[in-house]
């Protein structure tokens, strides 16, 4: 029988972002607390207050800001160049010209940071929401789905400026809603269309391709099938990929001329769309413009292979790696029975018997580890810089995975030799930041309640300094495992 204290520890570690001081007392019944966190319909949304405080804006606005900054930079660069030439012509003696050039260079630097400033504000909103949650189950779900449908800021300035609004617009509204709705919102979102190159894909026989000079790009179609829905090896063919790529032609972003709509919003450009019926996975989809792609996505969202693929990933992330097959069966069945209702699927995770197995055998990824550290020591989340930097150092830079398959979700990937060494160094640094005022025994109790091993307690008690005790708590198996 798992004790109430162990259940609370499991809620914090396996499903949440770790305990906060005093948090232990607030969770007398772990299951009830997890249910309660999922109850409000807006639980996964960034509040309007926080959005206003941090100046968060929509994807279209962010795209336009980044674009305008790029234009301004070009103009300014030309001005800096011509003033430098003027100065050279004057024999370099004009102090007025030098001051003006300095001012222009400073302005240039400011413009250059537009996308970075948006990225940092969005990061701060995400960090604060995770730091403030009672347990953090909803935010863990947000992180899970955001990584499942990842984009990467490494793609360029527009990607850097829209990765955060992508998560707020295409992920958060559906984390407790329906998977089919999330899928459609993601695949038509400008950030995804840009990330996986669909904006450049043109139907071979499209109206705007009369000379047949442009053509298909399979990237989005393939990754939807392989990563977002059915999963690799689930039976689709190269022909299905190509056919789907044709269906998706025309799904693009309205350009800066505004011809297709407000710049930076989704647009269906019928002139780029491959005309005609399409066959995919043995099913025929009549020509319907944008509706053809919508129909394919609706079927993919309800495909049994999709249920199985998502169930495997959810169980591996939240329950155990490797995913126990019996647990995967149950979650896949719940996904199908509830027509992809993700709140019901999330609650089904809590109802798995394996969810309450007392031995924590998974391993916190760098985001979970850092967030749990910040929560335990109530570190202020005012400047996103330190967390952004630490995530990069630990190999999990925010919204910047190496590929469209997202960050790995296995114990082996993160509990590596180098990963552990970096985590030790990070813990030592965090302990320096926290300082040495808190009583280690009290921190231990805040983190783990009574559910702490004698060995960890003894190691912490015998530390040579409070600071070292804090680093030892952060590195303890209880804190690292999930």
């Amino acid at each position: 029988m798992v004790s109430a204290a162990q259940q609370t520890l499991i809620a914090f570690q396996r499903f949440g972002y770790g305990a906060r001081p005093g948090g232990w007392a607030q969770v007398p019944d772990a299951r009830a607390a997890l249910h309660a966190e999922l109850a409000p319909s807006d639980a996964a949304l960034i509040s309007a207050d926080m959005a206003a405080t941090l100046g968060l804006q929509g994807t279209a606005e962010n795209t336009q800001r980044v674009f305008q900054a790029a234009e301004a930079r070009k103009t300014m660069q030309a001005a800096v160049m011509s003033s430098a030439e003027a100065q050279a012509a004057a024999g370099g003696r004009s102090e007025v010209a030098a001051d003006a050039a300095q001012a222009r260079i400073a302005a240039l630097r400011d413009i250059g940071g537009t996308a970075e400033r948006i990225y940092r504000a969005e990061a701060l909103a995400r960090f604060r929401k995770a730091a403030d949650a009672p347990i953090g189950f909803v935010e863990r779900l947000v992180a899970f789905w955001s990584n499942h449908f990842c984009v990467s800021i490494a793609k360029g300035e527009v990607a850097r400026g829209t990765a955060g609004s992508f998560e707020r617009e295409a992920i958060r509204p559906f984390v407790l809603g329906r998977f089919a709705d999330m899928l459609t919102a993601v695949e038509r979102h400008p950030a995804m269309l840009f990330f996986l190159d669909n904006t450049q894909s043109v139907g071979p026989d499209a109206r705007a391709n009369g000379n047949h000079k442009r053509g298909l790009n399979e990237n989005l179609a393939r990754e939807i099938l392989e990563l977002h829905t059915l999963g690799v090896g689930s039976g689709y063919s190269q022909g299905d990929v190509t056919s789907f790529a044709r269906v998706l032609t025309g799904w693009t972003i309205a350009g800066h001329d505004g011809r297709l709509g407000e710049p930076g919003t989704f647009a269906f450009n019928a002139n780029l769309h491959q005309p005609g019926d399409a066959t995919l996975l043995g099913r025929s989809y009549p020509a319907a413009g944008f509706g053809q792609g919508e129909a394919v996505l609706a079927d993919l969202a309800r495909h049994p292979a999709t249920a199985r693929h998502l169930a495997t990933k959810l169980v591996r992330h939240f329950i155990a790696d490797p995913a126990p097959p019996a647990a995967v069966d149950k979650i896949a069945a719940a996904f199908t029975a509830k027509d992809g209702d993700l709140k019901a699927v999330s609650l089904a995770l809590i109802d798995l018997p394996q969810a309450w197995a007392p031995a924590l055998t998974s391993f916190r990824d760098p985001y979970q580890f850092l967030m749990a550290s910040y929560r335990l020591f109530s570190l202020p989340v005012t400047d996103p810089g330190p967390l952004i930097g630490a995530l990069r150092t630990l190999g999990m830079p925010l919204w910047e995975p190496a590929g469209p398959n997202g960050f790995p979700d296995t114990v082996a990937a993160w509990a590596s030799a180098e990963g552990m060494k970096l985590r030790l160094d990070t813990s030592a640094q965090l302990a320096q930041r926290v300082g040495g005022l808190d009583d280690p025994a009290a921190i231990l109790a805040a983190a783990f309640g009574d559910a702490v091993s004698d060995e960890t307690r003894l190691t912490v008690t015998r530390a040579e300094s409070r600071q070292q005790a804090i680093a030892l708590i952060l590195m303890s198996p209880e804190f690292q495992r999930s």
Partner: protein, 407 residues
């Protein structure tokens, strides 16, 4: 390198004494070699994302190449002039160091090659490439790690494998103990803290104990001073060079590791791939710089070194609608080092006519990549055909080792 093997301090002795035998650097004898015996280095670089072999090593002599590769095709003259290799093949001009080695017969190329994997998923393709298994989904260990495990134990107790990067590449994961190292710029934790954490793991968590112990050991050997340099990205030339430089330093040590794995990212060139310049050329330049850094860093050991750079599959023979290439099949593998019988492009060229392409779209693979890997491990590491076909590359009995490329 710090002389820690000669004069271990009491603190270090205590620290290392708590670890498993494989971390006991202080008590380790230098590599014991019979007189005249080889002391070989083997380095595998995984190029993640699928390298376009037709842009890296262009079959300029094939009459169909220029038409298929269109605007980004390399030629012998003009804006996209390549470096000549053998009259039929030419090298992307972003790789001058490799071209020099090729001329000096210390570099070779295998063309129209692939693993046994014939679908086009990056992640499954990389799993097959790195696991050495005949199919995806068997990812418990990598072929380099199993090769290490099959080597005779000898007198040495230190790990002979080295995994470079914050995340260990699958090819190096497995039962055999391996060092982990990545360029990093964090101030490091004190030895005392490390000792206490290791002691706690020793009692409570063997898995974390092994991982942290290995991480600490390799970070000491690499030396923290030079490694305090900024941490580079593995999809940028500077990051690739740093990784190679640090790994070379570890590999060059008398008692350091001998078999290393690195992974470079970013080869998935769907859009604006570029030819003699552009995105792919920048990445190839990074690979070239890494090979040069290995040569410089290994010094005398370069003479008995083999570097093998491989990718999960190739890309479409015809460029796509966005001046890039989509996922394909056959591609190239690069070999460099003093232990390579170089100066040649090994290929059983299938041609690029429509009927010669794999599934009508990709360069057809005619050489199984495993024949090259088996050749290197057989000739240079003495692994028998049976061990190679059962333990290292299970199910590869029908794929003969190609021993012609290795000294």
């Amino acid at each position: 390198m710090a002389p820690l093997c000669e004069t271990p301090s009491p603190t270090r002795r205590a620290l290392l004494g708590t670890g498993a035998a494989c971390f006991s650097w202080a008590f380790m004898p230098r590599w014991a070699h019979a007189a005249g015996a080889r002391d070989t280095r083997f380095i595998t670089i995984i190029l993640r994302g699928a390298l376009d072999g037709l842009s890296a090593v262009a079959p300029i002599g094939d009459p169909d190449y220029a038409g298929l590769h269109g605007a980004i095709a390399l030629g012998m003259t003009g804006d996209h002039a390549a470096l000549p290799l053998d009259g039929f093949f030419a090298l992307n001009p972003a790789m001058p160091a490799f071209a020099e080695l090729f001329a000096a017969k210390q570099a070779a190329i295998v063309h129209a090659t692939a693993t046994g994997y014939r679908d086009r998923s990056h992640f499954d393709g990389q799993d097959v490439l790195e696991s050495g298994q005949p199919a995806p989904g068997i990812t418990g260990s990598g072929w380099l790690n199993r090769a290490l495990a099959a080597l005779p134990a000898g007198e040495a107790v230190a790990p002979r494998g080295l995994a470079v990067g914050a995340v260990s590449p699958l090819v190096m994961r497995g039962e055999a103990p391996v060092l982990g190292w990545a360029p990093q710029n964090l101030p490091t934790a004190s030895e005392d803290l490390a000792r206490r954490v290791l002691a706690l793991y020793d009692q409570r968590d063997p898995g974390l104990h092994a991982a942290l112990g290995a991480g600490l050991a390799s970070s000491r050997l690499a030396g923290n001073d030079a490694m305090a340099a900024a941490k580079g990205r593995m999809d940028m030339p500077e990051g690739m060079r740093q990784a190679a430089q640090g790994a070379a330093r570890l590999l060059a040590a008398d008692d350091g590791p001998r078999i290393a794995a690195l992974a470079f990212d970013g080869w998935d060139t769907h859009v604006n791939e570029g030819g003699a310049t552009g995105r792919l050329a920048v990445l190839l330049g990074g690979l070239d710089g890494a090979i040069r850094a290995f040569k410089d860093g290994l010094g005398a050991a370069w003479a008995d070194t083999t570097i093998l750079a491989v990718t999960e599959f190739g890309r479409t023979a015809r460029i796509n609608g966005t001046t890039g290439t989509d996922h394909g099949t056959g591609t190239v593998a690069f070999l460099a080092g003093g232990a390579v019988k170089g100066g040649r492009v090994l290929a059983d060229w299938p041609g690029l006519k429509p009927q010669n392409l794999f599934e009508g779209r990709d360069l057809k693979p005619t050489i199984d990549l495993r024949s090259i890997m088996k050749g290197a491990l057989g000739v240079q590491w003495g692994l028998s055909d049976t061990v190679l076909a059962t333990q290292v590359f299970p199910g590869s009995e029908g794929i003969a080792a190609n021993t012609t490329l290795f000294v």
